[in-house]
Amino acid sequence: MASKKASGTLPPQQQIVHKVIMVGTGGVGKSALTLQFMYDEFVEEYEPTKADSYRKKVVLDGEECSIDILDTAGQEDYSAIRDNYYRSGEGFICVFSILDMESFEATSEFREQILRVKNSDNSVPIVLVGNKGDMREQRVVPAELCRQRAEQWGVHYVETSAKRRENVDKVFYDLMREMKRRKGGAQTQIGIDAAASSGRKKRSGIKKHCTIL
């Protein structure tokens, strides 16, 4: 793969950056998952997020890269301004709480919004995440239903507990692998340039779409 060969010679600022966006209803644990992944800590207090960005250097399958996590607002009143945020994402972690059926149902809407922003690109990497797995005995969303939805979307379903740090790394690493695979296929250049050019490509796609309308 081109990126693999080049990684040794790349100056650090041109390292590959995987842009991940956390989406899901308010209070399902997006920030908790992010903070657990970033700093290995669990925050009990709930404070609604607006839009927070995190960056971390990780080693993915022996290769150093960065992950840029954008933790978004889940509250309904943000839905209208989400598009700008989603546009910058290359992979999405769609979180719901297994204790809250509505949050599960809302995942469809989030996915629809993602697909709309991504110009109906069905292959955009998404991981469906059922959080709060530490309280499984009180679960409301049956695991079977979650798996069915993931299957229907053609994505992975992972059940996590941000509190107990269960599967937290798996979610992020799985998604990064998927994004890497995808980038590897479409990549013509390396590093940031590739991301930018693919971005430009997408934008022209949107424009084209508009003229059709």
């Binding site: 995190y54 301004i81 700008n84 149902e105 469809s108 939805r149 229907q152």
Partner: protein, 684 residues
């Protein structure tokens, strides 16, 4: 000239020729010219006088106007001085606050401070600080204003070092970014629509407290930039103001859309109301009404002509709520325009298509029926409720078929039936609950339930009933189906009659086949009957048989041969014991089926079997212990037990004995002892 004559000139009916004639009345014939000349000079004097008065009036008013203007400018000066001293005082107070209470509470003060400064003259200040923005700032519309401006440092997230100084200006609709040049002045680098900018807080614990909370990231698709603010407070201020401005734009956009629609509709309504008021006044009635109508039509038509574009916009944004509302208003609009109507009809069809797709696409069912409810409600509002329900139910049918296909036809037919029934029951109760509040669709729902029922029963018929199972399986199948139907009746879906209609024939056939087999087997046994004692292998085998029969309520202990040393034989023939088993099983299996449509058949078959056997007994009356014991066993033990299982306490089969009087002695329990005694005597 007298003042009453002044009045005369001003009346509407004043006629100059009449006036002159009046004046010349009684004047001598030669004097007319002189008189007229005198009148003319009078008139011109009057004219002069009035011109003079007018001039004086104007002058007086002008004097007053000048006085008022002087007063106004004086007051303005005073107000200006007041404002100025107030601002000074405010600044002094703010400075004092800053000095005493350095950070925490001052977010508010700073913002108000910056707004006051920007109020004083932000545009001038900004134009001095940054080159190339004059055009933008001078051409701002009335609704646009400078919200916020700050100097920041562009920041590299990778190296965590500042790149260059820059200045950001937030206007109501756009963000201007300027970079500093060598001369130390900012030059406009880019101007961005707020729609394409999204603010993000950068959380970075690693780079230490120096930059903590001060970095603001702007997502400007496809890139992103980070800016290091003066303080965390300024960053928060920028984040909030950016977000607020974005929301404001969206809000205004939707308000404008709604306002144009509502406003137009409103003015039409108002005009209508106004026209109605005018109608009451008799004076300009007709004229005014015409004008009102014309204006209304013009307004409606201009509104209508914009509507297709408006709808396209809604469709593009998938704002179908709004679209449906617009369609609704269009339909209520009294003015019609054929060309526009055709266009709108097309849009309506598109919307209906979109909504139907929402209802019928495969993903829609996930997330429960609720996920599709909105689309269905909208379709109902468009008057296509029946269609929406139809599409939805068809979708549910497809789901149902898939689910049923997944149930494997196992070798355990009863569990197969159970699974199918549960699937059906759940689906129906789901749908029934969902449509509880929509009685207008009950008919469709019921039809759907009935259709699904026939699918279910077809499957059961094909995979269970028609593969010729034992009567027990048929009985259990029936029990399960009946149970499901009872559950559904409880929630108001009563379809038992459908079950009866669809299942009776196959059930009859299956029962008939079974019964014929049983009869044949019994007939063979009858033909082989030798009335010999039933000799078993051992005493334990006999005990097992006795236990087996007593478990089902048939006592046979009294028929054990007393004179057999090995105690392993019964005075009842083997074929009779076999019949006891067959008859008992049949009764047990037929009992639940008596609640089914094939009740009559069940009873006829039971009757037939018993009649055949009783006839056989009656035809073979003979001496001998085995026959006597066997007959008594059948009449007093087996028959009552079977009767009770099939018909309950009252009993029906017991009456059959009356048809065979020759058997009566064996049926009498009191005779039994006697016969037994006789038997023993005979053996001795």
């Amino acid at each position: 000239m007298s003042s009453n004559e002044d009045g005369l000139f001003q009346t509407d009916a004043f006629s100059p020729s009449d006036y002159i004639r009046d004046r010349l009345k009684g004047v001598k014939v030669g004097d007319e010219t002189r008189k007229l000349k005198q009148l003319r000079s009078e008139m011109s004097a009057l004219n002069h006088a009035s011109q003079e008065t007018l001039k004086n009036n104007v002058f007086r008013n002008y004097q007053q106007f000048i006085d008022a203007s002087k007063e106004i400018s004086h007051l303005e000066r005073e107000i200006y001085q007041l404002t100025h001293s107030l601002i000074e005082q405010k600044q002094v107070i703010e400075n004092l606050i800053m000095m005493t209470d350095d950070d925490k509470t001052s977010i508010h003060t700073v913002s108000s401070h910056s707004t006051t400064t920007s109020n004083t003259n932000p545009i001038q200040i900004l134009m001095q600080k940054m080159e190339g923005i004059g055009g933008i700032l001078n051409n701002m519309s009335a609704t646009e204003k400078v919200i916020l401006y700050s100097e920041m440092e562009q920041f590299d997230v990778e190296t965590k070092k500042p790149v260059q100084k820059c200045m950001l200006i937030l206007l109501s609709h756009r963000l201007i970014i300027g970079n500093i040049n060598a001369a130390g002045k900012y030059v406009m680098e880019s101007t961005l629509s707020l729609n394409s900018v999204a603010p993000v807080n950068v959380k970075d614990r690693e780079s230490g407290a120096a930059n903590a909370g001060k970095v603001l990231k702007l997502l400007i698709f496809p890139e992103s930039r980070c800016y290091l603010c003066e303080s965390a407070r300024v960053k928060k201020l920028w984040f909030d103001e950016l977000e607020q401005a974005k929301r404001e734009i969206l809000h205004k956009g939707s308000l404008v859309r709604q306002a144009t629609i509502r406003g137009k509709r409103q003015t039409v309504k108002e005009r209508k109301a106004a026209a109605a008021v005018i109608e009451e006044r008799a004076t300009f009635q007709e004229e005014e009404e015409d004008v009102g109508d014309e204006e209304k039509n013009d307004n409606d038509i201009s509104w209508l002509s914009e509507l297709p574009a408006e709808l396209d916009d809604c469709i593009a944004h998938r704002d179908l709520d709004q679209a449906v509302e617009l369609i609704h208003e269009w339909k209520q609009c009294p003015t019609k325009d054929t060309v526009i109507d055709i266009q709108l009809q097309m849009r309506e069809n598109t919307i209906v298509q979109l909504l139907s797709d929402d209802v019928s696409r495969p993903g829609a069912v996930h997330g429960g029926p609720r996920a599709m409810k909105k689309a269905r409600t909208l379709l109902t509002q468009l008057g296509r409720g029946t269609y929406a329900t139809d599409v939805y139910l068809r979708r549910r049918s497809a789901m149902q078929r898939n689910a049923m296909r997944d149930v494997t036809v196992s070798e355990e037919p009863i569990s197969y039936v159970k699974q199918l029934c549960t699937l059906y029951g759940n689906a129906v109760s789901d749908i029934a609950n969902e449509f509880r509040s929509m009685p207008q669709f009950y008919c469709q729902v019921l039809q759907w339930c009935s259709y699904e029922l026939s699918t279910l029963l077809n499957l059961i018929r094909r995979h269970v009933i028609e593969v010729a199972p034992a009567i027990a399986v048929i009985a259990y199948t029936w029990k399960n189906v009946l149970h499901t139907m009872e559950d559904l009746t409880a929630i108001g879906v009563h379809l038992n009659f459908e079950v009866n209609r669809l299942l009776s024939t196959p059930l009859e056939k299956a029962l008939q086949t079974n019964f014929e087999n049983i009869c044949d087997a019994v007939k063979v046994r009858i033909s082989e009957e030798k009335w010999r004692p039933y000799v078993l292998d051992s005493e334990s085998a006999l005990n097992r048989l006795v236990e087996e029969l007593s478990d089902v309520g048939i006592n046979v202990e009294w028929a054990i041969s007393a004179n057999d040393e090995s105690r392993s034989s019964l005075n009842v023939s083997q074929n009779v014991v076999h019949f006891a088993r067959v008859a008992h099983t049949l009764s047990k299996d037929l009992a639940p089926l008596r609640l089914s449509p094939i009740q009559v058949l069940c009873e006829v078959y039971a009757d037939e079997l018993w009649k055949m056997y009783l006839q056989h007994l009656a035809d073979n009356i003979r001496d001998g212990a085995v026959f006597a014991y066997s007959t008594t066993f059948i009449l007093t033990m087996v028959l009552p037990v079977c009767d009770k299982i099939l018909y309950g306490e009252e009993g029906e089969l017991i009456r059959l004995i009356d048809q065979f009087p020759s058997l009566a002695p064996y049926a009498d329990p009191s005779d039994e002892e006697k016969q037994k005694d006789e038997e023993e005597v005979a053996h001795v």
